[in-house]
């Protein structure tokens, strides 16, 4: 996919909308967490993925419990920040006809690809994955 400004914005907005939809469903539905699992890896293999528990973490953040959210899954923090900031930033870009979010995305992508940054992040993801396994998700 050759990414352009409009494509990226549409994609991020669709992703955030799906995220809010899922969060609303998770909050409104009465079924237990284990019934509403959507993790492909967990369903297929029985092992949790590094992102298992993110919905519960964002749920905890909505109730103002930051520490509990970190204990569910630290991925909840970046996900919540992206879900709040990205739509607002994109809306601002559409209003003032700018592409600051697109340029930020490209810069962030370049920086994150550097070995010095990518390797520590990979180690954190692996550590989180192992932690998820021990938490019994």
């Amino acid at each position: 996919m050759n990414i352009t400004r409009n494509r990226l914005y549409a994609f991020v907005l669709a992703l955030c909308t799906a995220g809010y939809g899922w969060l609303a469903f998770h909050q409104l539905s009465d079924v237990s967490d284990s019934d509403t699992r959507f993790c492909f890896l967990k369903t297929a293999t029985g092992f949790p993925c590094p992102a298992c528990g993110t919905t519960r973490a964002v749920d905890a953040l909505l109730q103002g419990q930051v520490w509990e959210a970190i204990q569910w899954n630290p991925f909840g923090l970046p996900v919540a920040i992206i879900m709040i900031v990205a739509p607002l930033w994109i809306a601002r870009d559409y209003i003032v006809k700018a592409d600051s979010f697109f340029r930020f995305y490209q810069k962030a992508e370049m920086k994150l690809s550097r070995t010095g940054i990518a390797l520590p992040l990979l180690a954190l993801v692996l550590a989180n994955w192992i932690w998820n396994y021990y938490k019994g998700y």
Partner: protein, 112 residues
């Protein structure tokens, strides 16, 4: 560049690009200077079939996207359990095309 060199390049690397891109690549390679030949030969192109295997095995963690250099999309997949599995399945069909597009982007730096 010489026709023989260009045709050799096309024959050995055609699988890395979309079929509709091949005539354009050939025309541009014929037009550019011979001094770029070594650079063009050493571009690290990704194999679409390898991407597909990686996507089938590690697509729900975004490894396929990280591999072809789509770091942003890879992080998106990683943070959302492969987009609830839907994105993972969509990427099984998209990843080969995405890999070829990335290869074309890499080659384009030297073609123009």
């Amino acid at each position: 560049m010489e026709v023989q060199k260009v045709d050799m390049y096309i024959m050995s690397n055609a699988r890395y690009f979309e079929p509709h891109q091949i005539p354009i690549i050939r025309d541009r390679l014929l037009a550019i200077d011979d001094s770029k030949w070594i650079m063009i030969q050493t571009i690290p192109l990704k194999d679409p079939q390898t991407s597909l295997i990686v996507s089938l095995l590690g697509g729900s963690l975004g490894i396929d996207r990280f591999m072809i250099g789509d770091t942003g999309i890879g992080i998106g997949k990683l943070l959302t359990c492969g987009g609830a599995g839907i994105w993972t399945i969509v990427d099984w069909f998209m990843i080969q095309g995405a890999t070829r597009e990335k290869n074309m982007q890499k080659l384009q730096q030297f073609l123009y």
